[in-house]
Symmetry: C2
Subunit: 137 residues, 2 copies
């Protein structure tokens, strides 16, 4: 099973990811793999590289860098799923889409955004919660 938590910075994704991972591991006896491209130690590696390379100064460059990280993330999630781990992703595509629509990175070309997404995350999707259940949660 592939679960994803989306949300803006400070909304509690990391906390909820940890609580959910602990519950699934200890109560449901699942093997858990958590994935996040910009949390914990990775945040420093990415941030340092952005500063060293000048990428931080350009919105399009930042967008490309995150798609590079997403393409790598796709593999670690796919590999974990292939050995039957339960995957919890701290963000997948939707926060990224929300950010770049807000920033107007792609202008009116939303189709381009979906094409880039396909090169990064391919068609790997987290589980969908039916709207009714979503409402009752």
């Amino acid at each position: 099973m592939f679960i994803c938590l989306e949300g803006i910075a400070g909304s509690g994704k990391t906390t909820q990811t940890k609580l959910l991972a602990d519950y699934l591991k200890n109560v449901k006896k699942k093997e858990i793999f958590t994935s996040a491209v910009y949390e914990g130690e990775r945040r420093k590696v990415v941030s340092d590289f952005m500063n060293a390379s000048g990428i931080k100064l350009d919105q399009n460059a930042v967008m490309f860098l995150f798609q590079a990280l997403h393409a790598a993330q796709y593999h670690e999630v796919k590999n974990a799923l292939s050995i039957n781990k339960t995957v919890i992703a701290d963000r997948w595509r939707y926060s990224f889409f929300a950010h770049h629509v807000y920033q107007d990175t792609f202008g009116k070309n939303e189709n381009l955004m979906f094409q880039l997404d396909l090169l990064a995350y391919r068609s790997l999707e987290p589980v969908s919660i039916p709207p009714k259940l979503r409402h009752s949660l």
Copy 2:
């Protein structure tokens, strides 16, 4: 003036860039700015980051990372040109295109490649040498 040298690894771009820069500086008294995203110290920074992030293992991720670097490179070239420096780029878009057409990164979707290029290098082009002159060089 914006000059670009393209070519495969080992074809002598770095050597020719240095010779051309020295000539334009010493004989023609031009102020020179050279730009390369994957030469000298930058190569180590980029290579280390590719290894640390898992990007190196995915062709699409590598493509996105280089587009991120190109978007940053665009700014340094544009800035140097705006203060009337002569810019020599050790690669611009064509080696990248050749590599990804060879690798089939974009499949049959060449249009997507041009759209990504526009987000990275915008429409900044090196000078074109007319075919006749090119032939006589």
